[in-house]
Amino acid sequence: MRRRYVINGKVHDLVVTRGANGVFHVSHGERKFEMQGKTLPDGRWRVTVDQRPQAVWIAAQGDSRFVHSAATGALEVEVIDLSAASGGDRAGAASDLLQAPMPGTVIAVHVAAGDAVHTGQPLIVIESMKLETTLTAPRDARVKTVHFAVGNTFALKSTLVTLQDP
């Protein structure tokens, strides 16, 4: 199976298949290796890469895997979901216009034109049918325009905030 891991900002695209007796075959880029692992009584893993065993501490949280070995110290591996990740090349264009998912009223505005925003940052809060929705930045960007002020009403699909490259 294919899997994308990121270590220190560098992307590694892996292909993992299984062999016999708990062995896995991994290839990424030009490199190929065989591996297997088993847990040790003290909580460590014995990870064997191409017949070389090493004792490793491994912890997992969300989309991150943390690995510590004497040779490498501690490193974080981010797991990227290929089906969710935007390809990257077209991500910007589609999501620079934040449109209203339903008609409603603006009840709070958290940013102003020129503000730098990061992915997930709350931009504007709208209210509709007794439901409050906070719209957040889909990517790291800079606010180009906020089209409505607190108290304004808007129609479905109205552009509420326009973003541009940071």
Binding site: M1, L82, S83, A85, G87, G88, R90, A94
Partner: protein, 532 residues
């Protein structure tokens, strides 16, 4: 289960001659496959790249689970038609594994003439969907076609309808389909994603519309781009015709894999009963056992010994009807009942076949037919014995059989023997031929001689008596045509089979087919009337 005792001597002169000739045939076959699959004019590749698209086999590489096999069907479809300009009829179909699930795949190949549909294209697709229906296998469509080839409209029109009908029946049977729209789905092609349970479209290059920009302009005067008429955002946000927008092809494929991973797990009607074991004898030796001349006999037990697990075979009725071998074996751990011709079919062999077929149906054993037959025996004595009735019984048994059947033609398939041994019309789940095979109503020299005799008689009636040279020339011409029309490539071009197989690929093809066929339930057998 006892291992077959091989009597082959690989040092034997005949073996070595066969091996050399058959190896050349197989090498030639593999070369044709390679060219058909990969050789494309550079300007076509450039065009595909300029459109930001991947080539069809690059898409398959991303879609299929790494480290898993892919059984391609009818790769050489249209190889002897359309001047050989339409490799594989512009589509790739096959059986593979995606997200751990066995699925069928239809992938348009837009690197040739924009991937337009010739008459054989929807025929190849309809056949894939027939396989999907019979085996209850999900289908993934990778859509990227220029629509119907304008010079083949009538052929495409009639064949195309069957594709959509099959899609609907698949859905009715609860078998999921997913479409990834990489390019255009125009006119009829638009129904392919629309009839799927899930569909994905690539922003910018994907388009689904009953009529493209030129047609729309001609019909209503409106001028729109393809994207405006039926692009990603229109269909995923407004019309709801397509389910998932994708930023690029890799993203679309990742979404499809994610969808397949959510499918209900398969329930299989049978499983491997034993651990798989490779054949004891070297499969490569099959090339020395079979002669390139289909008139030369060989013992198919030697082939069985190089296809089945451990070369073990339990022969049924070993002393009766000896021109037809019947018995049980295991292929990749699946128990199968094998029927293999060792010569012409007689009354006893026909009756043995009918009996064995009903036995295997009773104990739910899939059947494998290794065809090498020149037909049923003819002659007065045989008629008195009831050869016609007995052949009919064999056909009746074929028709009443409900277990999965698989046919491999190893050398010759002539006459009604082709039918009795589960030819195309008798619903094998999959059928293949080796590249050395010849098939037809009768053998090419028989055909040539008969036809030449008829022609000579015609000429004589008109007052012309041909001399030796003329007759030889006439026979030669007729023979060449008969030979060409009876060889494996001719048949596979017209989709008379699900592809040619190199002999050493037979075991894996059967293994994959057996595993795939288990997705459909096996009904109780029910036979018509046997003329006893």
């Amino acid at each position: 289960m006892k291992r077959i005792d091989s009597r082959i001597d690989t040092a034997f002169e005949a073996f070595r001659r066969n091996h050399q000739a058959m190896s050349a045939i197989v090498a030639n076959f593999r070369e044709r496959m390679e060219i058909t699959r990969h050789q494309r004019p550079p300007h076509e590749i450039k065009r595909v790249r300029a459109q930001g698209k991947l080539l069809v086999r690059e898409r398959l590489d991303l879609l299929l689970d790494p480290g898993t096999p892919f059984l391609e069907f009818s790769a050489l479809a249209a190889c002897e038609d359309y001047n050989g300009e339409v490799p594989g009829a512009n589509v790739v179909t096959g059986l593979g594994v995606v997200s751990g699930r066995e699925v069928l795949i239809h992938a348009d190949d837009s690197s040739v003439k924009g991937g337009v549909w010739y008459t054989l294209t929807p025929r190849k697709l309809a056949r894939l969907l027939d396989i999907a229906l019979e085996n209850q296998l999900p289908v993934l469509h990778l859509c990227d076609s220029g629509g119907a080839f304008l010079e083949e409209l009538s052929g495409v029109y009639i064949e195309g309808g069957r594709v959509f009908r099959n899609q609907c029946l698949l859905s009715k049977a609860g078998v999921p389909q997913v479409a990834m729209v990489f390019g255009n789905c125009t006119a009829g092609g638009a129904y392919i994603p629309a009839l799927c349970d899930y569909s994905i479209i690539v922003r910018g290059t994907g388009g689904v519309f009953l009529g493209g920009p030129p047609l729309v302009k001609a019909a209503t005067g409106e001028e729109h781009t393809a994207d405006e008429i039926g692009g990603c955002d229109l269909h995923t946000q407004v019309s709801g015709t397509v389910d998932y927008p994708a930023d690029n092809e890799a993203h679309a494929i990742a979404i499809c894999r994610e969808i397949v991973a959510q499918f209900k797990p398969a329930t299989k009607s049978y499983l491997p009963e034993r651990d798989a074991e490779p054949p004891y004898y070297d499969p490569d030796e099959m090339l020395g056992i079979v002669s390139p001349d289909h008139r030369v006999q060989f013992d198919q037990r030697e082939l069985i010994a190089r296809i089945v697990d451990g070369s073990r075979f339990h022969e049924y009725q070993p002393a009766y009807g000896t021109t037809l071998i019947c018995g049980y074996a295991y292929i990749w751990g699946y128990r199968v009942g094998i029927l293999a011709n060792n010569g012409v079919l007689f009354s006893d062999s026909s009756k043995k076949a009918a009996h064995f077929i009903s036995l295997c149906n009773q104990n739910r054993t899939p059947l494998v037919f290794l065809q090498n037959t020149t037909g049923y025996m003819i002659g007065r004595n045989y008629e008195m014995e009831g050869i016609t009735k007995d052949g009919a019984k064999m056909l009746m048994a074929q028709a009443g059989s409900e277990v999965p059947k698989f046919t491999v033609i190893t050398s010759a398939a002539f006459g009604a023997g082709y039918y009795g041994m589960c030819g195309r019309a008798w619903d094998p789940r999959m059928i293949w031929a080796w590249p050395n095979v010849h098939m037809g109503v009768m053998g090419p020299d028989q055909a040539a001689n008969t036809l030449a005799d008829v022609k000579i008689a015609q000429l004589r009636r008109k007052g012309h008596t041909p001399d030796e040279a003329e007759m030889a020339q006439l026979r030669q011409r007729v023979y060449e045509k008969a030979e060409r029309e009876s060889n494996a490539y001719f048949a596979t071009s017209r989709l008379w089979d699900d592809g040619l197989l190199a002999p050493t690929d037979t075991r894996n093809a059967l293994g994959m087919a057996l595993s795939a066929a288990a997705h459909a339930p096996i009904a109780d057998p029910h036979y018509g009337i046997f003329r006893f």
